[in-house]
Symmetry: C2
């Protein structure tokens, strides 16, 4: 069977930037406690030098990450027309690590002013995703595997 992964080039790195830097949310995959089944949910995400998530203790994904920090984040939304699979998306394979919420408050709220409503709630936490690998799909026949060095990480 042919290998569908293309060699990473600057076009792929540029597409990854275009998907990641403006993102405001993603589909987060975690392993559920008691068995490790996967669960996917929509989460608030911003790229602040690295992918950052704002999560509540009330959510099952937060409980799951406390038990197993491995996660996956799918970024990118299809357009309204045509096959949803022709539209680019990127999946980050990462480990989540809690960071000091107060230190990122101004930067987060500038980019996502609507979250002022709940950013300071004590059950909300800020987590950085330490990315190990990324799968970029630019549409059919355009699959790439990226490393942290190919992403716009600056911390």
């Amino acid at each position: 069977m042919r290998n569908p992964i293309r060699p990473t080039d600057n076009e792929a790195r540029q597409l990854a930037r275009e998907l990641l830097l403006p993102a405001r949310y993603g589909a987060l995959g975690v392993c559920l406690p008691d068995g490790g089944a996967p669960m996917v949910s929509r989460v608030a995400m911003l790229w602040l030098g690295a992918p950052m998530l704002l999560l509540s203790d009330l959510a099952l994904h937060m409980k799951a990450l406390r038990a197993d920090p491995r996660c996956s984040l799918l970024i990118g939304a299809p357009g309204a027309k045509g096959d949803p699979l022709i539209y680019p998306r990127i999946t980050l394979q990462a480990e989540a690590q809690e960071v000091e919420k107060a230190a990122f408050r101004d930067e987060w709220l500038k980019a996502a002013p609507k979250t002022t409503l709940y950013y300071d709630f004590s059950d909300f936490h800020l987590l950085r995703l330490n990315v190990r690998q990324a799968f970029l799909n630019g549409g059919f026949g355009k699959a790439f595997q990226l490393g942290p060095e190919d992403l716009p990480l600056d911390i």
Copy 2:
């Protein structure tokens, strides 16, 4: 800590229908072989009496499902304005099971004519998701936990 899950009512069941029946894609979470880390990717999905996925052998999620059929599918896209978390979505917790692709060909292609390009390719397979549980989120403070009996399943 308060329990954020509300009792399931007909409004919740109706919202689940509105999300599931017109869906054309979803964010699929699987457990990767060699360790069970989660991975999320965009997949083609249609509701044909149950959630059905059209997946290629070339994709990592298909290899993963062959090793562990447990999966999670997030359905629903946020609107363009405001906080992405105010928009409803539903997560299906399921097990994937391959079904006979030819038996669903007409129904699938009627709903997703663009996939005529590759539906018959030998590396593409049709999988039904046998849903065990669903998490519905209608926006902040509107979380529900649904069972198969609350969903528009007819097979």
